[in-house]
């Protein structure tokens, strides 16, 4: 696998209220790579990730997924292979763990069967396998999501993401609401599972230490502009200063 999984070419996004969230962002992520989007809050990380599955529409530039350009016509097909993991998990709190995970198979399930809740035996098996892989136990299956700890909820979120055999996973600050120890566990899990299943990961983070530890590539954002793109080894103290220097300038 040597083709480019995700290509951002000159992406720009200005919201209706005039906030410029992204400005001419261009970089390429190779298939199977674990790419960390690093930046302080408000730097445009979420917006950038959301352009990949159509939750945000860029008003400049173009995104290419596995060789196909993202357009309103290709989006409905392409987004089925792009999973997303959220900071606040975005699970149905009152539903069971099993229900939340199998919901990841909804796009591929015919509507009538989906409405009646008739998922295939293969999907059910896969949901169980994934829950085992992310480190949950059989007794969690019937438990409500709201009764789990934050770390366990994110494990459910990861299991759901892998249900659709994604080629790319967008992880938007997946560990921002977890403690440092659990954060590391979740990052390890995400990286391992993505590698095993050959999924490309775009993971936004604001913690430099986690980025240095887990990334194959770091793209640093500042005010919606990519100011660094390279391996962690090339990420120097001067780059770090540049990311945060701007914040100070803004606050004053």
């Amino acid at each position: 696998m040597s083709f480019d999984a995700v290509v951002f070419a000159g992406i720009g996004k200005t919201f209706a209220d005039g906030t410029q969230a992204l400005n001419d962002v261009s970089f390429t992520v190779a298939a199977g790579e674990f790419c960390v989007i690093l930046g302080p809050s408000g730097s445009g990380k979420s917006t950038l990730l959301r352009t990949v599955n159509g939750l945000a529409v860029p008003d400049a530039g173009c995104i290419v997924l596995s060789g196909e350009a993202l357009t309103p016509i290709t989006l409905p097909r392409l987004r089925r292979r792009v999973a997303m993991i959220y900071q606040q998990f975005a699970l149905v709190n009152r539903a069971s763990v099993a229900h939340n995970v199998i919901a990841g198979a909804l796009p591929a399930t015919p509507t009538l069967r989906a409405v009646l809740g008739l998922f295939g035996a293969k999907d059910k098996q896969k949901a169980c396998d994934l829950l085992a892989a992310v480190g949950l136990a059989p007794e969690h299956l019937t438990r409500r999501v709201s009764e789990l700890s934050g770390g366990q909820q994110q494990r459910v979120g990861i299991a759901r993401a892998f249900m659709a055999d994604p080629t790319a996973i967008l992880a938007d600050e997946p560990v921002a609401s977890l403690d440092p120890r659990t954060s590391r566990d979740i990052m390890t899990l995400l990286r391992r599972e993505a590698r095993e299943r050959g999924a490309t990961v775009l993971c936004s983070l604001h913690q430099l230490d986690l980025a240095m530890e887990f990334a194959d590539r770091i793209v640093a954002l500042r005010n919606g502009e990519a100011i660094f793109n390279g391996p962690p080894s090339a990420f120097t103290a001067s780059v770090e200063t540049r990311i945060y220097a701007v914040d100070k300038a803004r606050a004053s």
Binding site: Y86, Q88, F89, L106
Partner: protein, 339 residues
């Protein structure tokens, strides 16, 4: 910095902690008080207080002439003793079978003297006449119980039909689910239209259309409750957590799939709570709308009231009280356990 110097510091320019009572709040309170005084005069609150005070003093044993106390005494006197048995003139029972009496029943023979004019002598003569009654010792209680059950059945079916009707209404009147502006407006109009007519009023018209009996009751309850459930269900759907919905939409799940797997699981517990509340309420309302002829215990109550059978009315009132009390307790227990 020490505490003293902190306290002595002057206010920082531009910062003023909001006052507890703003002028606007004060004006609103004054207006509200004025409105209450004005409307209180119309609904005779002053007389209500005076009459109630008299009644309380009379009840406490003071020598006060209280109109209310006299009224209550008269009602209580005529309602008690409660009617328990059922007594039927046998000559009025069609095809009466003396050998097969209902359970616990017996025949009572009443002899009474009748003065009748003898056509030959043209004088009044005393005769002894006997009338036979079939006495069922708890017959009326059983009759009332059957009517209570009918009331519960009316409430149950009114609620079930309302649930079925309210689901599509709620989907189309929730701004995040509706198909387009027109379905939204039509559904909204329907939901408020259904709620606009109180059950007692719609029952009055439904009795004209469907005749006396439970059908009118069921429909009257269903119509109002569907509007009620539709409104609250739609509000819940609109306020349900958007994050999981977005998560499913992002991987390409269509509207129906998002509805069934992100919205419904989120709002269902609340919806069940609403439905139980409506059922509880419909039991009470079903007793009331019976009074205009829509079946159940209310219809029996109205009939007895109009015939001045006040001891029967007493039995019915006690029965309604017991039923509502039991259902309240049951519902509270169920709610504690399952919600």
């Amino acid at each position: 910095m020490t505490g003293a110097s902190l306290a002595e510091r002057r206010a920082v320019a531009g910062w003023a902690f909001p006052r507890w009572l703003e002028t606007r709040t004060l004006v609103v309170i004054l207006l509200a008080v004025g409105l209450l005084i004005q409307t209180g005069r119309h609904v005779e609150v002053d007389r209500m207080v005076r009459l109630t005070g008299d009644a309380l003093m009379a009840a406490a044993g003071l020598d006060v002439d209280s109109q209310v106390a006299r009224g209550v005494e008269k009602i209580a006197g005529s309602l008690f003793p409660l009617q328990v048995a059922k007594r039927t003139d046998i000559s009025r029972i069609e095809g009466f079978d003396r050998t097969e009496l209902p359970l616990l029943a017996h025949i009572e023979t009443v002899a009474h003297q009748v003065e009748r004019m003898n056509p030959e002598t043209l004088t009044m003569e005393a005769h002894t006449e006997t009338v036979e009654f079939l006495v069922e010792p708890v017959g009326y209680l059983i009759h009332v119980a059957a009517k209570l059950v009918e009331t519960l059945e009316i409430a149950l079916w009114g609620t079930v039909i309302a649930i079925v009707m309210s689901a599509p209404l709620a989907f189309f009147s929730a701004s995040n689910l509706t198909l387009n502006r027109y379905t939204y407006m039509i559904a909204r109009a329907l939901v408020s239209g259904l709620r606009a007519v109180p059950e007692l009023v719609s029952a009055l018209f439904l009795v004209m259309a469907y005749g006396f009996g439970p059908i009118a009751g069921v429909l009257a309850l269903a119509i109002y409750s569907a509007g009620f459930l539709g409104k609250f269900f739609a509000e819940d759907i609109e306020n349900s957590d958007v994050k999981p919905q977005e998560a499913l939409r992002a991987i390409g799940a269509n509207k129906l799939k998002v509805l069934c797997h992100a919205i419904l699981p989120d709002v269902m517990p609340q919806y069940i709570a609403y439905a139980l509340y409506v059922l509880d309420r419909n039991v009470r309302t079903a007793t009331v709308i019976g009074i205009v002829g829509a079946g159940g215990i209310g219809q029996e109550l109205k009939g007895r009231f109009d015939m001045f059978n006040y001891s029967h009315v007493g039995t019915i009132l006690v029965a309604i009280f017991v039923m509502v009390f039991v259902i309240d307790q049951l519902a509270a227990r169920l709610r504690r356990r399952y919600l």
